[in-house]
Symmetry: C2
Subunit: 127 residues, 2 copies
DNA sequence: TATTGACTTTGAGCTAACTCCAAGTGATAA
DNA sequence: TTATCACTTGGAGTTAGCTCAAAGTCAATA
């Protein structure tokens, strides 16, 4: 697959794909004889994984570390597990924050709704 | 309340508090005769609100817009409601991404666990 | 043959959200 | 009185994660 195809498939710009490769998120992508990237199955899987993690806000540095461990084979399983557990912990925390904020927004929006409908003429701004 | 007290209370650095004020997230904080900030109830409420929103990743630009509308009184209720609805939509999307990623991490961690326990000697790296 | 268009590289530039620094002020402690 | 300390300001610096620009290569088309 060319970079344009992969770019379309995963909705990441070619620049971003090259950047990910440069910083070590992807093991060097195979090339044609003229040096043009020809993404294989493995590269695509990694890109999909990275995209998923990035969408959740996992830092690139962490992903580089993970990919490096992955490249070293089975001896790094324990370390990889610990790394993923740490990220999960962070995401659970983030999830909690987001849930709290959504609840707060729900409340505020409901109040504004009521004001709009004239059900609350008494409203004092409280945030 | 002094900036140091507020800083401690909300776990935000004094620099961050001054920054928030400078960019317009807080209406000018009251001062003592020597120009030292003396945070009042309203300032604290705003700080708490901003902190909650920032913890969920809501952009400062958006919050500035919201605070500006808030300052203009009841005529902006509809606009404020729309703004909050948009942010809620973004957070729901984010929540979805995070949930997906947590599920994926749970799966990976489980697999690594099994490998560690010798239950899976056959494992092929798949991400 | 000439040009188009997708690719390549290197390296600079950008944005958000802080974070830090230098220089100054004013109240309190020794 | 002198020194300390928490505060003040303006403005520069930092970090993550891209994003863009310039200059070049190569295969395919007019």
């Amino acid at each position: 697959m060319t970079i344009a195809e992969v770019s379309k498939k995963y909705d990441l710009t070619p620049d971003t794909l090259r950047y990910y490769e440069k910083v070590g998120l992807l093991s060097p992508v195979p090339r044609t004889k003229n040096g043009i990237r020809d993404y294989d199955e493995q590269s695509c899987k990694r890109i999909e994984f990275v995209k998923c993690m990035r969408n959740a806000g996992v830092e690139i540095e962490i992903l580089i570390k993970y990919m490096t461990l992955l490249g070293k084979g089975k001896s790094t399983v324990k370390e990889r597990k610990e790394l993923l557990e740490e990220q999960r912990k962070k995401l659970l925390e983030k999830q909690k924050n987001i849930n709290e904020t959504i609840n707060r927004l729900n409340y505020k929006i409901k109040i504004y709704e009521e004001i709009s409908l004239g059900k609350r003429k008494d409203f004092t701004e409280d945030l």
